[in-house]
């Protein structure tokens, strides 16, 4: 699913005294099979931007093309209903959306809405529960008896069961401990790799996650995209990131201190990789 935004802008409460421009002049091009991160500090407009991608918000300026659908200002929400089949969305604290009597019924909500048959739905529920690591014995329990972490898994399974091609992840690991955070991100990574056309768009201000789990970054500040590129490209200008009230990952910071020329390369931005890279530089720059 190709996603392309051209000069997209959105103003809340247009024409009222409470008018507020949230994003403007956004150009984005996301081919199928991408791992994208939209980074920015709180209030930079990143959540507003991604809510356009499945038609929850309709732009007030510019155009947005998602697959075959082109969205223009003034279009009705109703006609965009079908977009939600192909673009799934995991909101911040998704466990707040649970409502059904059992875990199984809650996960089945999206497939039921999208008209999957009974058998198909049951199969999707089972597979989604497996993908997020929920034990089958939990399916008949009430989601409200579960622990916070399990509830979040149920909620995410509920999105995956809709069988989206593109997944929007709005701070999916917020409030989790480091181990839970990593497990959560690994899970989305596995989901994305299962099919070549699957993409995800990670919205976060956690630069380590953006570095490790995205191949391309969009940096937002005050409603506009101020930088874009691969993590390595973006992290070459810490000063510009600072202007956007963001920081480079700790690994980049340390390596820049050691090697001012910036001739290091990182993939996972994790401790062991960083240590190897430091060792390589200290040995005189040759390969390990």
């Amino acid at each position: 699913m190709q996603i392309k935004a051209q000069n997209l802008g959105f103003t809340y409460g247009e024409g009222t005294p409470f008018e507020k421009k949230a994003v403007s002049g956004i150009d984005v091009d996301i081919p199928p099979g991408s791992r994208i991160a939209v980074v920015g500090h709180t209030g930079s407009g990143k959540s507003t931007l991604v809510q356009h991608l499945n038609g929850l918000l309709v732009p007030t300026e510019g155009t947005l093309t998602v697959g075959e659908t082109t969205i223009r200002p003034g279009m009705k929400q109703k006609v965009l209903h079908h977009l939600r089949r192909t673009v799934g969305m995991v909101f911040q604290y998704p466990e707040h959306q649970l409502f059904e009597e059992t875990v199984e019924k809650d996960i089945a909500f999206a497939p039921n809405n999208f008209g999957a048959g009974e058998k198909e739905t049951a199969e999707r529920v089972r597979r989604a529960a497996e993908a997020v690591g929920l034990d089958e014995s939990l399916l008949s329990r009430s989601p409200f008896e579960l622990s916070g972490g399990q509830m979040r898994r149920v909620a995410i399974a509920g999105v995956l069961a809709g069988h989206p091609d593109v997944l929007i992840l709005d701070e999916p690991a917020a409030g989790l401990d480091p181990k839970g955070r990593r497990a959560m991100m690994e899970m989305f990574s596995r989901w994305q790799q299962e099919q070549p056309f699957r993409s995800y768009i990670l919205v976060t201000h956690h630069m380590e996650d953006a570095a490790k789990y995205a191949d391309y970054l969009y940096v937002m500040n005050a409603g506009s995209i101020v930088m874009e590129g691969t993590p390595a490209e973006v992290f070459q200008s810490p000063a510009r990131l600072k202007e956007a009230r963001l920081d480079v990952p700790a690994a980049v910071r340390i390596l820049t201190e050691i090697d001012g020329s910036g001739s290091f390369s990182l993939n996972t931005y994790e401790a062991d990789e960083t240590a190897d890279e430091i060792a390589r530089i200290l040995r005189g720059g040759g390969p390990l």
Binding site: K78, F91, Q97, F99
Partner: protein, 264 residues
């Protein structure tokens, strides 16, 4: 419900805005009482004049009020018709085959509707010029004498201000849950009424659960900061009753005397 302005507050610095909220509440109550003296439409003229006068003093654009009163006006007209058709006394004015209209019915309906309309206008003026916090403070103060009779004045006022405080929070919460369910293919604006009501379940269940959780957190947070009820509590916002406040109440009484004089 864009057209409903009862309950909204418009910032301003008029005499009415600056009045003691206790005086405004007492005034509204007195106004309601004196309107009961009217037994024919003409007797309501002083009350209408008073309402106009007060509204002009708030310096809020008249157009804003008129737009906001549309809904109330429709309700009042409906009630007038209902009242008129139900009363069957006096001479027949219009002898329709199924619904004869009586003189007494028109009179009674007009007084009833006029009273209700003026009361709604004044209640709107009250909320337009008084912040919710001022209102709850005033209510607490006015109900304080009833505390001896076991009325928990402070608790009632606190409950009300908490409720008002959390309305915007609940709204944004609702919007978020709505979007999350829409992302899962829910639709809140399609299909029959039964379908639409059913569609509310995925919205209401999370909203109620969240509210309970939030209530518990708020209770803990208040206790952690030493909240122990009204006992020994001092106030940050002090209310001052001025001579002008008394004069306004006196004007309401004067309006009442005029109404009494105009009784038929």
């Amino acid at each position: 419900m864009r057209s409903m302005i009862l309950g909204q507050y418009v910032q301003g610095d008029s005499f009415i805005h600056r009045m003691d909220p206790r005086a405004k509440l007492t005034g509204l109550f007195l106004f309601l009482l004196v309107m009961f003296l009217a037994n024919r439409p003409a007797a309501l003229i002083p009350a209408a004049a008073f309402a106009c006068f007060v509204f002009l003093m708030t310096r809020i654009p008249v157009r804003y009020l008129l737009k906001g009163l549309k809904f109330i006006a429709i309700m009042v007209i409906f009630l007038f018709l209902f009242r008129m058709l139900m009363t069957r006394e006096g001479t027949v004015l219009l002898d329709l085959p199924w619904l004869p209209i009586y003189e007494e019915g028109v009179r009674d309906g007009a007084v009833f509707a006029g009273r209700l309309f003026l009361l709604m206008v004044m209640a709107t003026v009250l909320t337009l010029t008084t912040t919710p916090i001022e209102l709850t403070d005033a209510l607490e103060r006015l109900f304080k004498p009833l505390q001896r009779l076991g009325v928990p004045a402070h608790e009632l006022a606190l409950t009300m201000s908490i409720a008002l405080r959390f309305i915007p929070t609940l709204f944004s919460e609702m919007e978020k849950i709505m979007k999350a369910q829409m992302a899962r293919g829910a639709s809140f604006s399609d299909g029959s009424i039964v379908k639409r009501i059913k569609a509310l379940i995925p919205l209401l269940v999370p909203l109620i659960i969240q509210s309970f959780r939030r209530a518990e957190e708020l209770a803990v947070a208040m206790e952690a900061r030493g909240y122990a009820g009204s006992e020994g509590r001092t106030r940050f916002r002090q209310m001052v009753w001025r001579a002008s406040d008394t004069r306004v109440l006196f004007t309401v009484v004067l309006t009442g005397i005029c109404i009494f004089a105009l009784r038929g």
